[in-house]
Symmetry: C2
Subunit: 379 residues, 2 copies
C-alpha cells in the first residue's frame, strides 16, 4: 500500500478510563467518559467532530451510535470496526485514512469493551482451539520452542511480567498497580508451561478515545501535535510462520510495512507499546518488531533494555499484563499512552525525550484468522 | 464531508449467491462463492486484490479473515465492519475511501450473513423494543400516521409487496420467486396493522461481493466500468424526525449528502434499490429519497411509477421483500443489482438504458441508534 497521497494527520486529543472490572458501569458509560476526556484534551466541541470510528468485539450492534447519541452528538457518520484484539487500532487506521484522504478534518476514534464471563466466544469456533490449543497454549508452545532453540529461560519470560507490573505501578490507569517479584511470577499457578498465571493478562473493562485532525487543524489546536506516521494492517499470516514456531508471522511483516511507510527503523524508536497478552508474546514481538535479533529476546529482557530506563522501553503503561486488556479498548489505549510520552505528559513513567513511538496489536481466533496492526507516531 | 480529494473508483466485478435459507451451508462457504464470482467477473486474481472490507452483523470475530484464508488469499489488510443493516454498504464505503485515497488500486468488498433463530439480538437491548416497539411495530406506526395525514391506503402499501414479488419472479437470486396478488397480501396474517405477513421481509442467508478499482485499473479490466459517484453515511437521526412520524429522518439527510457529492438529483436516477424491510419503509424511503413529494408515496405506487416499466423503477431485484434480507449481505447485493442494470446485464428485469442508480440501506436497534447509507453509481 501507498500512503503518499494522504495528508498529514495528527492525534490532538487523548483520554482513557482506568482499566478495571467496572462491574457497575456499562460500556457506553465507560466509552463516553473517554470521549468527553479526549474532546476536552483536544479542545474540540462535539460539533467539531465530523466522523467517528469505533472498535470493539462483543458489545453488540451499532455501539458507536449508542455511545454518541447519549452524548448528544450531531448525526455524523459512525462506523463500527471489528478486527479481534486489533479492533481499536483498526478503527484508528480507518480514521487516519479518511482524514488523510481529505474527507474530514477532525475525527473521533473510540475503543471500548465491557468484559463478562463467557465473552471469548471464539474458543469454541476453531477446531484446534476446541481441542485445547487455546491462546495460552499457543503462546506456551512458542515459548517452549524458543527455550529449546535459543536457550531462553523461564526466568527471562517471567522477568517481562515483573517489568510490566513495575511499570503498571506508575500508571494510574492500570488495572493492577502492584509490583511482583520474579519468585511470585514463577510460583503462581501454572497455566500452560512455561506460562504461569502472572504471565497472562487479566480480564477487564475500559475505554479509550483519541481525536485525530488534519495538519492545519492540529496546528491551530495544539502546540504538541503527535503525528501518525504510519498505520499498517495485516491479517492472519498464521500465529506461527510455517517453518518457525518461534515467530508470530504477522508482526514482522506488519512492522516492515509500517517502518517503510514512516521512513524509520526499529533503531529510531524511543518507546514501544506492544501486545503482551502473555509474556511469551512480548518476547516474540520484540524480535518481530526488530528491537533485537531473532533469538535474542531473552537477552534483551535480561539486560533490562526494555525497562523504563533501558535502551528501548517496552510497555511503560504496564502493558496488557498490568494495565489490563479490554479487547477493543487496548489498541486505542496504546496510542493514548504513546501520545502522553511524546508530549512529555506520562508522569512518573515518562520516557525522557521520547520522539518516536510504536504501537503493536494483534489478535484472532485459533491459529490462522486474525489481525495485526503497527502504528508509528512521531512528534 | 468532501470527496473532491478522492480518485475515481469503479466497481469492476460483482457476484452474489442466491438468497435463501441455506440450512446446510456455512457463512464462509456462502461468502467464498460470492468472492470467487466477483473476482471472476472482474478478471482479477486473488493476488491482484490489495485489501478487503467485510460487512456483517452476527457472524463472529474476524469473519473476513476466515473467509479469505480458506480461499488461499495472500495476507492483505482485512477489515470487518458493522453498521446494522447498512453493514455491507458501510464496508463498500470504506473500500471506496481507501481506493479513492490512493492506498490501494484494487479492493474487495464482501457482505454476508447466515441467519438463524434468535439472531436479532438487539430486540432485547432497547427498552422501547423490549416493551413491544419492535421494527414492524415502528414501521406500522409510521404507516398508520401516513394513512391519517395523507390518505394513503392499505392497498397502496400492499401494492408495494405485489410489485416487489413480481420483480422477484424475474430474479434467479431471489429467495422468493413467486407472485402474489393484492388480495393475498392483504389477507395474509396481520403482523402490526397495517402490515401483514407478506409486507415484511423474510429471514434468509446469503452473500454478495464486489471488486472496486481505481480509474486506471478499471479501464484496463473492463469496457463497462460502473463508477461510485457517491457513498454517504449517517447515523441514527432517529427513525422518525422529532416532529414527524411519517419520515425516517436519516434517509433524506443521507440522500442529500449523496446527491451533492454525485452532482445529481432524484430526477437523474434510472433505477433504485432501497431498504424495503417492510412495505411502509419503501413508501417512506421513496419520499425521503425525493422520488416524489412528501405525502405522495401512495400515489407514486398506485400510478405504477416504481414498477419495472415505470418512471423510476424501485427494487427491480425484488427488494428485501422478495429477494430476501441477509442483513450484512443486503447493502452489497443492492450494489450488485445496480451494476447489472448499469451494464445492461440484468436479464428479464433489466431497466432499459439505465445510466444512474441509487442504493439505500438503513438499520439499527430501537428507535435511535442505527445507520443509513446512500450510494450512487453511474456508468
Amino acid at each position: 500500500m501507498r500512503s503518499l497521497h494522504l495528508r498529514s494527520v495528527a492525534v490532538v486529543g487523548v483520554a482513557m478510563t482506568k482499566f478495571d472490572k467496572h462491574p457497575d458501569r456499562s460500556v457506553e458509560d465507560l466509552a463516553r467518559q473517554a470521549v468527553v476526556g479526549a474532546l476536552r484534551d483536544a479542545g474540540v466541541e462535539k460539533t467539531g467532530v465530523e466522523a467517528a470510528y469505533v472498535g470493539h468485539l462483543y458489545q453488540g450492534e451499532v455501539l458507536g451510535q449508542r455511545i454518541l447519541r447519549g452524548l448528544g452528538f450531531p448525526p455524523i457518520p459512525v462506523l463500527n470496526v471489528e478486527n479481534a484484539c486489533a479492533s481499536g487500532s483498526s478503527a484508528l487506521r480507518e480514521a487516519w485514512i479518511a482524514v488523510g484522504a481529505g474527507l474530514y478534518d477532525v475525527a473521533l476514534v473510540v475503543g471500548a469493551e465491557k468484559m463478562r464471563k463467557g465473552l471469548l466466544q471464539f474458543v469454541d469456533r476453531d477446531l484446534e482451539v476446541a481441542m485445547g490449543n487455546t491462546a495460552p497454549a499457543q503462546y506456551a508452545l512458542a515459548g517452549r520452542r524458543h527455550m529449546e532453540e535459543f536457550g531462553t529461560s523461564r526466568e527471562q519470560f517471567a522477568q517481562i511480567s515483573v517489568k510490566n507490573h513495575r511499570h503498571g505501578c506508575l500508571n494510574p490507569h492500570a488495572q493492577y498497580q502492584t509490583a511482583c517479584t520474579l519468585e511470585e511470577v514463577l510460583s503462581s499457578r501454572l497455566i500452560a508451561d512455561p506460562l504461569t498465571l502472572l504471565q497472562c493478562c487479566p480480564a477487564g473493562s475500559g475505554a479509550a478515545a483519541v481525536v485525530v485532525a488534519t495538519d492545519a487543524v492540529a496546528r491551530r489546536l495544539t502546540t504538541l501535535p503527535v503525528w501518525i506516521r504510519a498505520a499498517a494492517l495485516r491479517p492472519w499470516m498464521s500465529y506461527f510462520a510455517p517453518t518457525d514456531l518461534t515467530s508470530f508471522g504477522a508482526t514482522a511483516v506488519t512492522a516492515r510495512d509500517a517502518y517503510a511507510m514512516a521512513g524509520v527503523g526499529p533503531e529510531d524508536l524511543d518507546v514501544v507499546e506492544l501486545h503482551d497478552a502473555f509474556t511469551v508474546g512480548e518476547l516474540l514481538h520484540c524480535e518481530g518488531l526488530g528491537l533485537c535479533a531473532k533469538g535474542e529476546g531473552g537477552r534483551l529482557v535480561a539486560e533490562g533494555a526494555t525497562e523504563l530506563a533501558g535502551r528501548i522501553p517496552v510497555n511503560p503503561s504496564g502493558g496488557l499484563l498490568a494495565k489490563g486488556h479490554p479487547l477493543g479498548a487496548t489498541g486505542v489505549a496504546q496510542v493514548v499512552e504513546l501520545v502522553w510520552h511524546l508530549r512529555g505528559q506520562a508522569g512518573a513513567r515518562q520516557v525522557p525525550g521520547a520522539r518516536v513511538g510504536l504501537a503493536h496489536s494483534q489478535g484472532g481466533t485459533g491459529l490462522e484468522a486474525g489481525a495485526c496492526t503497527v502504528t508509528i507516531l512521531g512528534r
